[in-house]
């Protein structure tokens, strides 16, 4: 089992964490102005990246904070963890 480094608690076992889907999906500025199709895109449509993917994770069995992580979806390796208010890191 791999360890995931929570930005607050440090490295912990993977079972303590919950997956939260793609990160950096901004809430629409004016939701009422969106068409049904645009709203559906915001709610349901997510990237299906092969390789490095920025995701939301929650340390649910520990400090219960959300954070973001860049994970390689082919190897499952975590490459970077960062706090939700930090910008998306530029990865090579």
């Amino acid at each position: 089992m791999q360890l995931i480094a929570c930005p607050w608690c440090g490295p912990r076992e993977e079972v303590e964490f919950t997956y939260g889907g793609q990160a950096h999906v901004p809430y629409p500025d004016d939701p009422a102005a969106l068409s049904d199709e645009q709203w559906a895109h915001y709610v349901f449509f997510r990237d299906n990246t092969k390789g490095r993917f920025a995701e939301r994770w929650n340390h649910s069995a520990g400090c219960r904070r959300w954070f973001n992580a860049v994970r390689d979806t082919t190897s499952y390796r975590f490459q970077r963890v960062y706090r939700v208010d930090d910008p998306k890191p530029v990865t090579p």
Binding site: W8, C9, G10, R12, E16, A61, G62, C63
Partner: protein, 190 residues
């Protein structure tokens, strides 16, 4: 301390726990008042609550005059007190924290404490906990929210005195059974 007319969740396990050898001493702690404190992270630095500064370093706890103050998150702490009735402690903290935008909620019924000490305490805990509990990595004053067996716990290092485990009351029986099983190999035969 305030007399609370309740049945301790570990009453049924007390006799079995008492039979464990000195290498693995597991004793249920009595009820204490516990209050969950939320203070905006920006206002928490250096803020003293009931005379003790909030521990702002992650995974730490500090002793207070009559209890403990445990870091639960960047804006969340757990404060315990043996000398105050839960609802009075909640009121007192709420009054103190209102000016800085903080909140206090009585969570005394949520968790119960267990004290685990003895020379084998660390080995027993290591059977169900992935955190490095060696004194070098987990000295007195360190805390961790993690899982022990299948139960979510708050683990506190008391240094020489062993560990304190705060577990949800409804999980306390499971955890006691788990600890009895984990400590079985240190019980002398016969």
């Amino acid at each position: 301390m305030a007399e609370l007319l309740r049945t301790h969740p570990l009453e049924a396990w007390a006799a079995a726990l008492a039979e464990l050898p000195d290498e693995v001493r597991i004793t249920p702690e009595p009820f204490v008042a516990m209050v969950d404190v939320r203070v905006p992270a920006a206002a928490s630095e250096g803020l003293a609550v009931r005379g003790t500064p909030l521990p702002t370093a992650p995974n730490t706890w500090t002793p207070t005059a009559d209890g403990r103050m445990v870091w639960l998150g960047p804006d969340e702490w757990l404060l315990t007190s043996t000398g105050t009735v839960p609802h009075l402690l909640e009121e007192e903290l709420r009054d103190q924290l209102r000016p800085v935008g903080g909140t206090a909620v009585d969570v005394s019924a949520q968790r119960i404490g267990l004290r685990i000490s003895g020379t084998r305490a660390r080995e027993v805990l290591a059977k169900g906990c992935s955190i490095d509990l060696h004194p070098r990595a987990f000295p007195a004053g360190r805390s961790a929210q993690t899982t022990l067996g299948q139960a979510g716990v708050v683990l506190l290092s008391l240094g020489e005195e062993g560990f304190a485990v705060l577990v949800r009351s409804s999980f306390a029986g499971y955890l006691a059974s788990w600890l009895l099983d984990a400590g079985l190999e240190y019980v002398p035969l016969g």
